[in-house]
Amino acid sequence: MDWGKVKFFLGEVFANLTRNAAMQITAIGTVAVAIAMLGAFLFVQRTAAAVSDQALQQIEVSAFLRDGLDAKADSALAARVTALPGVAHVTYVPKAQGLKQLRDKLQGEVDTSLLTTNPLPDTLRIQAKHVADVPGVATAVKTLPGVVDVHYGAETVQKLMRLLDVAQRIGLAVIVLLVLASFQIVSNTIRLTVYSRRREISIMQLVGATNNYIRLPFIAEGVVAGVLGAAIAVALLLVAQHELLPVVAQLVKFVPFPTQLPDLIPLAFQLLGVGALVGAIASWVSVGRYLRV
């Protein structure tokens, strides 16, 4: 290892970074904002994925049974359903129990004492092994004698999926714009540094430095700016996760927050990588313009 060479190189990078400090700070700030948004988006996306997974897991097929079947017929039916392919678990809910559950659920919102008769049928609640099995199970169950109707949250599920899809597309477009913006600003900053060092560059070229050698300190400068920006973004995200998330969870109680939040550590490394990449490519592009002879 030639420490003299390392020291010279680091000196050049440091000179670059401090030459346009104000502009450099702007660039780092922009990268930080863009990557914080990207990180927040990825975090929300992963959380949403977890939420929808959980929601899908909870989808069950309700099979409403003909009135007047005796308990023996009901349990025989339950056994047949359990034997169907794709069925994981079957719960038998007699109409009395169903009404009680409904009363509990609507407690305080609707005056359930108005219900003088029990309108609910006996019901089998069928849990599919997999979400994809749900429609097949529903169809199969419907053909069984004694089953009047089946119901599952098909539309709800599809709506939820569509909503998530649209939200993701919009989010992604915003992120792409932000990354492009930070790319542009980093690249402008590097261009300023390159411009203020054009004398050095021309002398480097004059004495026979290769273009790659000339480029290297600028690339390093871009990478440092990108990584610093990303590091600030990661710090912001960590703070947000600890301070903001509990508050948000309080506000949107109706959304079932998944018990297992996505891990921020791999996300942090991905974001740092994105920052480094943006910085490197941006400086490569802006130095390249000056190096054409």
Binding site: D2, W3, G4, K5, F8, A15, R199, E200, S202, I203, M204, Q205, L206, V207, G208, A209, T210, N211, Y213, I214, V293
Partner: protein
Amino acid sequence: MALEEAALIELRSVSLTYPNGVRALDAVDLKIEKGEFIFLVGHSGTGKSSLLRLLYREQVPSAGDVRVDGIAVHRMRAGAIPRLRRNVGVVFQDFKLLSGKTVWENVAFALQVTGARTKDVMRQVPRCLDLVGLAQKSRMFPHELSGGEQQRTAIARALVNNPKILLCDEPTGNLDPSTTTEIMELLQRINTKGTTVVVATHNQAVVDRMRKRVIRLENGRIVGDEERGFYFLGLGQGQVLSG
């Protein structure tokens, strides 16, 4: 001159037209042998600098061949330029030193940016500073130096890669007569050590005193090429210029 040995620098019917239409060089033929000391004279804008720029591939000729040390510079890949430049040192009228670096750092810079080992930097830089007589001022910054000292620094930088050729574009244009003499003596000494030196100048006194090969340019053409020549054509044949 042995026929089989190629000249160090060779131009064959070289023309250079700038994009703005100015014809800087017009069908120039020129051979410079290893170890020569050459003056390139002529009015400003007559093609001296353009000719030098062809030799370190700052310019590409519009037509003709440029060969430096056997390399066809006129059709060289951009990636090969750095190697040529390490073989051709260049010195300018305005020195082109880095103001934020000391004398030592300015000279070392030329080696460091070519990826030289620190060991070689530590050996080469003092050797060159010794040669130009600046060993005592190596820690000074350019603005603390006289013009002559700044030019010496630039010469040391041009020599630190051990080039075969040293090109000087008006090296004494900014210097007073006595400093000019010192710089020319230094160039003479460098030439004696084996480096081929090409000096573009319009300093008549220098040319007339040193009596080297003089190549005279006029409107982009070579109009004179004399061994032991004078600044003005024909002075070598006995005429004396008044003033």
